[in-house]
């Protein structure tokens, strides 16, 4: 029942609460309040005959108007420290868990998440998000990349070429995130880098959220003709495993290089050497 501190105060330190959720982070000289939660939106379900009855499905994200439900309220926490990496493994339930890692020589935080198989016993489709909340005064502005190339400015509830009246405030503010999403104010910048394309948004100032997995029970009538209800081994729902990399306060070039590192990650190849000694191999 105590806070957990990872890292040192020289380069990067993280404080996590007793549930293994991030509560603050110091990146170099910059300290930001940072909290994190894993939630789900219930997917809208309908007969698709009218707009208002359109279901959430493969093509569209359409949450019900209710607030997302917190999945990371209480976790079982294990912490490991060593010369290369410090990590905190947190299990929230039998289908939601995460590991937060801090490598000694690096200026980023790795959040390795595992989500699934998403339960559907209640007949409700679920769209799982990870939400990061900071004290950055982003003033309705956030930035997402465009296919890993140009970073584009996004303004909440706004489009640059027409007057927007959003009927659906959540999905209407979602954008594709191919490699990163950022918010900033005069003092700080906070970015989340992804290891794959995800949907993301900043629905409130200081917030970043990314959708990591979804399982839906209705077709959205846009052409695929089936619900996005994937199963894998043994017929159970799919498990998604991935990482977010958090940076803050750093130079913009640091984010870009980290995005390159993660999107074009090193490849590993393995060769068994049962009869070759090190000297022979050398």
């Amino acid at each position: 029942a105590e806070n957990i501190v990872l890292g040192d105060h020289m380069s990067l330190s993280l404080t996590l609460n007793e549930n293994g959720e991030l509560s603050s982070a110091t990146f170099g000289e910059k300290t930001i309040k940072l909290s994190q939660g894993i939630y789900y939106y219930s997917g809208a379900a309908g007969n698709n005959e009218e707009f208002k009855n359109r279901s959430s499905g493969a093509y569209i994200f359409r949450p019900t108007p209710a607030q997302p439900i917190l999945l990371s309220a209480k976790g079982e926490v294990k912490q490991y420290k060593g010369p290369i990496v410090e990590e905190v493994q947190v299990i929230y339930s039998n289908w939601v868990s995460q590991t937060i890692r801090r490598y000694t020589d690096e200026e980023y935080v790795e959040v390795n998440w595992i989500v699934g198989p998403i339960p559907i016993d209640d007949n409700v489709g679920k769209e799982i998000i990870i939400r990061y909340e900071s004290d950055i005064k982003s003033n309705g502005v956030f930035y997402t990349d465009s296919n890993g190339r140009e970073t584009l400015k996004r303004v909440r509830d706004f489009r640059p070429t027409w007057k927007l009246e959003l009927a659906e405030k959540i999905s209407g503010n979602y954008y594709p995130v191919t490699s990163r999403i950022s918010i900033k104010d005069e003092k700080n910048q906070f970015s989340v880098l992804t290891d794959r394309a995800q949907g993301g948004s900043s629905l409130n100032d200081g917030q970043i959220e990314l959708m990591v997995h979804r399982r839906l029970l209705h077709d959205d009538a846009f052409g695929v003709g089936e619900a996005l209800n994937e199963t894998a081994y043994g017929g159970v729902g799919l498990v998604a495993v991935g990482s977010h990399y958090l940076t803050a306060g750093g130079r913009p070039a640091t984010d870009k290089f980290l995005a390159h590192r993660k999107l074009m990650d090193s490849w590993m190849f393995f060769t068994p050497t049962p009869t070759t000694t090190f000297q022979q191999w050398q």
Partner: protein
């Protein structure tokens, strides 16, 4: 002889928006996975041949010098994201080759699934011991449906300053003993903490 075009072709197919966004039917999703997996397998053959050519071009032809074990191929481990890799789990010694596809030097953190909480030695090509760490694998990973692995730990080390568009190989062994002359390791640099 591997067919590089198998992966090229798969990558071409995967440009379709269905593959990018997941708007395909489930049977098509499975087929995409099949095509991609076959492409990767073909390229594995090419990588194995290329590495053999680079690492042991002469030794294979001369009797007085040893050669790489012919019967053991270089493979990838596509299930490393769930901490599963037959090569690292079943062998007491193996070589990890890390390829850097970027045009800048990078440091990569290698995480290898291993079964035992044992003493592992990781040597760079110059024979220098690398700092290693064993981290228990999360229970959440171990219970992922379909994961077929006995690995309980991940062996972590830094592959530092990998050359741009190049590779470096590391020799990993369980309780390795070096023949002949002892290498002069920097005492404080070699640490291992479970």
């Amino acid at each position: 002889r591997g067919d590089l075009n198998a992966l090229r072709s798969a990558m071409g197919v995967m440009q379709h928006h269905d593959a990018i966004t997941g708007t395909e039917k489930q049977l098509v999703a499975f087929d995409y996975a099949r095509i991609l997996s076959q492409g990767m397998a073909e390229c594995e053959i090419v990588v194995d041949a290329a590495l053999r050519k680079i690492i042991a071009p002469k030794t294979a032809d001369t009797e007085d010098q040893p050669k790489l074990d012919d019967e053991f191929k270089t493979v990838t481990c596509p299930l490393l994201n769930v901490s599963q890799c037959a090569t690292t789990e079943e062998n007491k010694s193996f070589v990890v080759t890390v390829y850097n596809p970027l045009s800048k030097p990078v440091t990569h953190y290698v995480r290898l699934p291993v079964i035992d909480n044992a003493n592992y030695t990781v040597l760079c090509p110059m024979g220098k011991k690398q700092v290693t760490q064993l981290v228990p694998i999360s229970d959440a990973v171990k219970r992922i449906p379909g994961r077929a692995s006995k690995a309980e730990f991940e062996l972590v080390f830094r592959a530092k300053n990998l050359p741009p568009l190049g590779f470096r190989s590391y020799y990993v062994s369980q309780d390795a003993k070096l023949d002949g002359e002892e290498h002069d390791y920097t005492g404080g640099q070699v640490r291992r903490e479970p």
